[in-house]
């Protein structure tokens, strides 16, 4: 366990250095964060166009949380990047599990997502007249973190399956988070979708976490909030299990047919 944590830490440090090579605080703030904030504003403005403060509240809260999913699923690019840069084969040959390395590397983006979502939560509601139950609303960032972890597990699972198709990594990343933004109750309640879609929605990350946040903000019972958050974590655990199996399958097959370094 201690060795795994050491690998996790090294993965985190490596990705942090890469992240800082790509972003300065200025590019993150004025390029990335501001873009995400404006994305949330885009949907809140739709609520304003619909002429209902209730819609503004619903769309803004949903999209504040949803922008975190974009960062949390960036792990898809990281995993495929290892394959493209030729380091995947080295990681497979190393005694530590490569899944731990990916998890460590992706934590930087999970942190970025939670930070962006939290800043959006603190700054945008007053601009759109969305009332929040302060000071208890200070707990919402913790719930956002739970949703982020779950989305991150889901992103890792998508990465495991897209490793065999590196040229489709951007498509996989975008479809990965767009599925969440479309169906998990970000813009319309999940009950809007047909029954058969709802079954699939219930095992997607963000569905239960967002329901917990909405319930909490609306003053719902603590038991409901805690229950939904527990479900969110359970969903995340399910996705990370599938991710581990998917990575294992890819590595086994790659070792067998020698395709770990050769895919386009």
């Amino acid at each position: 366990m201690r060795d795994q944590l050491r690998v996790l830490r090294h993965g985190l440090v490596v990705q942090w250095l890469l992240f800082r090579g790509f972003h300065t605080w200025k590019t993150w703030t004025f390029g990335w964060l501001s873009r995400l904030l404006i994305q949330a504003c885009f949907y809140a403005l739709i609520g304003r166009m619909l002429g209902s403060q209730e819609q503004v509240d619903y769309l803004l809260i949903g999209n504040l949380v949803a922008i975190m999913a974009i960062d949390a699923t960036v792990v898809v690019l990281l995993a495929v990047g290892e394959r493209q840069s030729g380091t995947l084969a080295l990681m497979v040959a190393a005694p530590a599990t490569h899944l731990t390395v990916y998890l460590g590397k992706g934590l930087v983006h999970l942190g970025s997502g939670v930070a962006a979502s939290t800043i959006a939560f603190l700054t945008l509601p007053p601009l759109f007249g969305v009332a929040l139950p302060w000071p208890w609303a200070g707990l919402v960032p913790l719930m956002i973190f739970v949703v982020g972890v779950s989305c991150y597990c889901y992103g890792t699972c998508v990465a495991a399956f897209v490793l065999g198709f590196p040229s489709a990594r951007w498509v996989a990343l975008n479809l990965g988070y767009l599925v969440l933004m479309t169906f998990t109750g970000v813009n319309v309640p999940t009950s809007f979708w047909p029954e058969w879609v709802r079954g699939a929605i219930s095992v997607l990350p963000m569905t239960h976490g967002l329901a917990a946040i909405r319930s909490f903000v609306d003053g719902g019972p603590v038991s409901v909030v805690a229950g939904e958050l527990a479900l969110e974590l359970a969903v995340g655990a399910g996705w990370i299990t599938v991710a581990a199996l998917g990575f294992g399958r890819m590595v086994t097959r790659g070792r067998r047919d020698g395709t770990i370094e050769f895919a386009s």
């Binding site: 404006i38 166009m49 619909l50 040229s167 990594r169 951007w170 479809l175 813009n187």
Partner: protein, 254 residues
């Protein structure tokens, strides 16, 4: 013209080889589902035209800021930019042909939106002024080609993902692709007039409404003019950028 067509043909051939190049076509159905579901769920069917047009314009813009803007960058990454510069003829028509080919794909989101609207929500907007609508689409494609060339030249100098990322939702908000500009704060509204997408969105929305469309020629002229400004700006900017890269020896290593 031959060079332009060669560029267009080459780009379409390249797109077939890279699934990621068709990213915009894959994301548009989700944009349609999101925007249509909001409008349908709220019962505001009078806003269906907005929900139909937004994915179309977002798709068109997505191609311009994504694939089209990366045409020259890809040339640099594949080490063919210096070969192009060493060629005896000017390659600008080839690059413009490649950008234009990308924007032909930009019409596909229109089809996607209509099909999804019909299949998933059972609705399609009525085209009350088809002539105006298609004229607006044509003018927008021209303006987008100019903008694509301008962005391609810009990206060659600023080879990082920061600007590309930023040129999405801020532009959608500013140009009123979904929410008309009058819902924006007053200080932002004048800025939207400089973005051709805002004129396109307004004109297309009016073409879907039963009321007569006012000042059609003037509005089309503005879209064309903004596109022409971008096209000339892109051409000049590309010329200057490539000339400087040649002088500095940074064609391949910048």
């Amino acid at each position: 013209m031959r060079l332009f067509l060669t560029g267009a043909r080459m780009q379409l051939w390249l797109v077939r080889r890279q699934p990621d190049d068709l990213l915009t076509l894959c994301t548009i159905p989700f944009t349609v589902l999101m925007l249509m579901s909001i409008v349908v769920h709220s019962g505001r069917t009078d806003l269906l035209a907005n929900a139909f047009l937004a994915p179309v314009l977002i798709g068109l813009w997505g191609f311009a800021t994504g694939l089209a803007a990366e045409v020259l960058l890809t040339e640099r990454w594949t080490r063919s930019l210096e070969l192009g510069l060493a060629a005896p003829t000017s390659l600008h028509p080839v690059y413009l042909g490649r950008v234009a080919a990308v924007l032909v794909l930009g019409v596909v989101p229109l089809l996607e939106t209509w099909v999804l609207g019909r299949l998933v929500f059972g609705v399609t907007p009525t085209l009350h002024h088809p002539g105006v609508f298609w004229a607006a689409v044509g003018a927008s494609l021209f303006a987008m080609a100019g903008t694509g060339l301008l962005l391609a030249a810009f990206m060659l100098v600023n080879d990082n993902g920061h600007y590309q990322n930023f040129l999405s939702f801020p532009v959608y908000v500013l140009s009123g692709v979904m929410v008309p500009v009058e819902y924006l704060p007053d200080f932002l509204q004048p800025l939207s007039h400089a973005v051709f997408l805002s004129w396109s969105a307004d004109l297309m929305r009016d073409a879907l409404a039963p009321a007569p469309v006012a000042a059609v020629w003037w509005r089309l002229a503005v879209i064309f003019a903004l596109g022409a400004v971008a096209l000339v700006g892109g051409r000049l900017s590309l010329e200057l950028t490539l000339r400087r890269a040649r002088a500095e020896g940074s064609v391949a290593y910048a």
